[in-house]
Amino acid sequence: MKRLMLWVPLALFFGFAGLAAYQLTQPKDEFIESAMVGQPMPQFDLRPASPDRPGVALADLQDGKPKLLNIWASWCVPCIAEAPQLEALREQGVEIVGVAIRDKPEDVAKFLERYGNPYTRIGADDLSEIQLAIGSSGVPETFVIDGNGIIQHQHLGDIRAEHIPMLLQKLQEAGS
């Protein structure tokens, strides 16, 4: 019995080393989820990011109609891949409001001309203030906002074709 007990520390050590080695081989989840899902959008008022669309303020998200709030930027490469999916959502009657992060009006205009403009409004967030206030940590990210301006869902990363039914479902649950 006593002899057996001598091996316990060694066994514990190998158990720990094995666990650490296993965790090292696991892919790291790069996405940081927002803790703001279920919370109301903060007070904000963003100037227009492009000359042909109005800016975005809190009141625009409280008009009773659920919307997608798309956090993007003209310098963001995955946003290019996402553009056709946003267009597909728009064609299905979804209202998409954009927030352009750290962007110049001419870059925004160039991007929209090249990849399409699915947005009804685009606000410019030059200091990432709204992004920080809603717990978003990158571009692109898309939030489902209900008609009262409450955040109902966060989609991390670019929207792909397979995400569209899920987003439509979330919008419906939000009361569209």
Partner: protein, 138 residues
């Protein structure tokens, strides 16, 4: 073949123009600019050292040159300049990003064993030692 090459080059040029656009907006006013009041700047530095950059691997926002870290430094400095307490700013960020954003250790539902186990081991070690010394005294 040549068409494919031309398309590939066009894509690369397109990416390059987008990548260069990233740096086109100047950093936030207080991203690289210290506060006038040294005490306030020191408080901001202490806080920024213990806030995690969300875009980088294990760097604090004080260490990172990522544009988003600059925007976070601007946020911290402007709030401290406006008289907000550093811990209130940390709480505001934790409310949005969870414990992930803060490097300051806290005792919570999931982290309490980290603090409790060393204490337990210490108590066990004291008991074992006491037993040994008693035996030797005999």
């Amino acid at each position: 073949m040549t068409r494919a090459v031309i398309i590939a080059i066009a894509c690369l040029l397109g990416l390059a123009s987008i990548a260069s656009a990233q740096q086109s907006l100047p950093p936030a006013p207080l991203a690289y600019e210290q506060l006038q009041d040294p005490a306030q700047e020191a408080a901001a530095q202490d806080l920024m050292q213990t806030l995690r950059c969300l875009k980088c691997q294990s760097q604090s926002i004080a260490d990172s040159d990522a544009p988003m870290a600059g925007d976070m430094r601007h946020q911290v400095r402007s709030r401290i300049a406006a008289g907000e307490e550093p811990e209130a700013i940390r709480a505001w960020l934790v409310e949005r990003y969870g414990d992930y954003v803060s490097y300051a250790p806290t005792v919570s539902e999931t982290t309490w064993p980290l603090f409790a186990i060393p204490l337990m081991l210490l108590v066990i070690a004291l008991f074992v030692l006491r037993g040994r010394f008693r035996r030797e005294a005999k």
